[in-house]
């Protein structure tokens, strides 16, 4: 399985835009890039998924360059409630288990 690398932790302040970059140099052709969010004492929650270019939903945007060797999760105008661990995963069609890395621990400060 292709591996992902992301920063261990990040700090931000309320109202700022936060960009978390994930590296996946060995991404396979049929891999989709998927991000999950986990609050303390809760199970992870799906945020967004993309294959290439840009994807946007009500929560976040996902930017994927043409070579797909990295991706950036963008959280607009974060609030204290966005403090969580964010996981970048690669998922292939028909491959069902999620392989979680250590994730990025985002702390949003007042």
């Amino acid at each position: 399985l292709a591996k992902t690398t992301q920063p261990i932790s990040m700090d931000s302040y309320e109202g700022q835009e936060v960009n978390i970059t994930c590296s996946h140099n060995n991404i396979a052709t049929n891999d989709y890039i998927t991000w999950y969010q986990q609050f303390p004492s809760q199970g992870p929650r799906f945020i967004i998924q993309g294959y290439k270019t840009k994807v946007t939903n009500e929560v976040a945007s996902l930017f994927i360059p043409a070579d797909r060797k990295s991706s950036t999760l963008s959280l607009p105008r974060v609030s204290l409630s966005d403090t969580a661990v964010y996981y970048c995963l690669l998922i292939s069609g028909g491959y069902n288990k999620l392989i979680f890395g250590a994730g990025t621990r985002l702390a949003v400060h007042p």
């Binding site: 989709y32 998927t34 004492s41 809760q42 199970g43 992870p44 929650r45 799906f46 998924q49 996981y87 998922i91 069609g93 028909g94 491959y95 069902n96 288990k97 999620l98 392989i99 979680f100 890395g101 250590a102 994730g103």
Partner: protein, 114 residues
């Protein structure tokens, strides 16, 4: 609608005892997954069910761990002769068969083996 539920939310047991953890998936979701998360660690895949069958048991750490799913719905994860290293949060997730990337997680069962 109702999400994935798990019971109990917390379980404290003595080393050597058996425990059963229960998961109720979202109605209609045919795929069900068990993961565990040790303190401060990432999630570790345990087992995957499609309907009542388990095509992928590769994550079960030892033969003390087993799981079953009946009626394509409720699943039970059983840990026999618990050890202290089994202490973790056990998370269950479900997904529609055509959406394996978006899994819906329950709140987890926190297991403490003393």
């Amino acid at each position: 609608g109702a999400g994935v539920s798990q019971s109990p939310s917390n379980k404290v047991t003595e080393k050597g005892k058996d425990v059963e953890l229960r998961c109720d998936p979202i109605s209609g979701h045919t795929a069900l997954y068990w993961y565990r998360q040790s303190l401060g660690q990432g999630l570790e895949f345990l087992i995957y069910f499609q309907g009542n069958s388990a095509p992928d048991k590769s994550g079960l750490p030892s033969d003390r761990f087993s799981a079953e799913r009946t009626g394509g719905s409720v699943s039970t994860l059983t840990i026999q002769r618990t050890q202290q290293e089994d202490s973790a949060v056990y998370l269950c997730a479900s997904s529609p068969v055509d959406s394996n990337y978006e899994q819906y997680f329950g709140p987890g069962t926190r297991l403490t083996v003393t």
